[in-house]
Amino acid sequence: MGKTLAEKILAKKACKSEVDAGQIVQAAVDVAMSHENGRMVKKSFEKIGVDKVWDPERIVIIFDHRVPAESERTAIGQKELREFVAAQGIGNFYDINVGVCHQVLAEEGFSRPGILLVGTDSHTTTAGALGAFATGIGATEMSAVWATGELWLKVPETLKIVVNGKLPDGVYSKDVVLKVIGTIGSDGADYKAMEYSGQAISDMTVASRMVISNLSMEAGAKTAFIIPDKVTEAYVKPRAKGAYEMLVPDPDASYLSEHTFDVSDLEPQLACPHQVDNVKGITEVAGTKIDQAVIGSCTNGRLEDLQEAARVLKGEKINPGVRLLIVPASWSIYREALKQGILETLIDAGAVVLNAGCGPCLGAHEGCLAPGETAVTSTNRNFQGRMGSAQAYLYLASPATVAASAIEGKLADPRKYLEA
């Protein structure tokens, strides 16, 4: 019987000739990432009582959730971690001027095909876009990884998702993955791996693929792969920090279920309050009044996202009742958008540009909402209370849909701004 990509990678990392879904294995970790919550990992690590981490080269610390520090408490936490990485000789440390962890892992060559990458952040699944078995774990678990370099994992069953067709202009990978989550439900892939394939996926850039692996977590996925191909290798090869292997699933692998989509006629999709699987097409919800519009995050804060937003906003002004916040996913994207004049277009339209990082995405730092307010955002979670008040309403959409909505002051279809 053939093997899924999850089974192949975990067999390799557990040093076994093969493993099957359902088995519990002890697996060796290639990359272990934490952000500011590394402080919690450090506390647990100290409780274990070893002096040195297992391998400083494989540990990555990236500050992104509250950069620069918004409070004294955060400042103290960041200071402690800076001292810790210096004392442990952890060279892969990225301070407040680099970007969101999942984007930085890819840009810096940590996310690679065939490796086991764990992070103390649920959207660690993002690295699956480059063929890594990548999954979020808790701080206690990470402290054991820091001490021993391994962790227990249950080999997941896999959902096969085939996306056929060609995406129309104004419709993006965000719309595709929202459609998938709306179909299978927010727990449709709980404990499971997902493998995405099909023409529409092969046609996507790495940036677009990362949206899919990132958001698949919102269907519960333990890990979400885009099967590695030429596009993957072209991205990974020049930046890889360490070995990788272009593992792919066997053609006769056994899947829990298969789901096929055709996206040639897909319209822009939105996840409506307060669940990511409450997905509707733009025609159904257009006209809903908004107060804030956010473009950014590890989901949709990449260069192509800012480019599409600028395409919509060029020569336009945002509605005076709306606050438009732009949060580049990384410092290098920020600089490139600056160089290409994209930020100028956005600012001319009335946008406020924030530091590269998580920004308003988790409602901890900046851009919070008041009770009764509504926002449309290119991020990945619309839970009650996620962006400030628990009495606020969040719609998730593509950057183009967010930009079009900012112009009109209400949820709007971006396609009319992209014609000609």
Binding site: D187, G220, A364, F383
Partner: protein, 166 residues
């Protein structure tokens, strides 16, 4: 492992980590401090009414959302004896096990337990007894590896043992 006995607090489906432990307190990293914010936004009176040793009974997909360990930490340090749910989100489930917080997946539990009833959960035997109504439910016990982790008090004591640190 001894069976856990306590009063049931019933929660709905899809209780996410933002509901359990709001994102704005994520900079709170002292385990002992986390229960102060447990369920603050959506069930503000939970902390006054519930007592250590009580049992949370939830619907499907309990703990969905972020990987924030504080969600499981806050429940564990509040002193909840066990979390029983129709199903759990993966990261919460792992965090609970790694923190030594007893949990059980019991299909149908929300149909047979109401708020305030006394229940007893035997993780090893895979039995849940509603002491108020007498109803008994069986569930698949956790794999031995995992029961052992919970029994040892979680991953930190287990790792210490593995590394030979006493």
């Amino acid at each position: 492992m001894e069976p856990v006995k306590g009063k049931a607090w019933v929660l709905p489906d899809d209780v996410n980590t933002d509901v359990i432990f709001p994102g704005r307190y994520m900079s709170v990293t002292d385990a002992e401090e986390t229960p102060k914010y447990l369920f603050e936004t959506v069930y503000p009176d939970f902390r006054e009414k519930a007592k250590p040793g009580d049992v949370i009974v939830a619907g499907k997909y309990f703990g969905c959302g972020s990987s924030r360990e504080q969600a499981a930490t806050a429940i564990r340090y509040f002193g909840i004896g066990c979390v029983v749910a129709e199903s759990f989100a993966r990261i919460f489930y792992r965090n609970a096990i790694n923190l030594g917080l007893p949990i059980a997946v019991v299909p149908g539990v929300t149909d047979h337990v109401s708020e305030g009833e006394e229940i007893e959960v035997d993780l090893e035997a895979g039995k849940l007894k509603n002491l108020t109504t007498g109803k008994e439910l069986s569930f698949e016990p956790l794999p031995e590896f995992i029961l052992d982790l919970i029994g040892q008090g979680g991953l930190i004591p287990a790792t210490r043992k593995k590394l030979g640190i006493e």
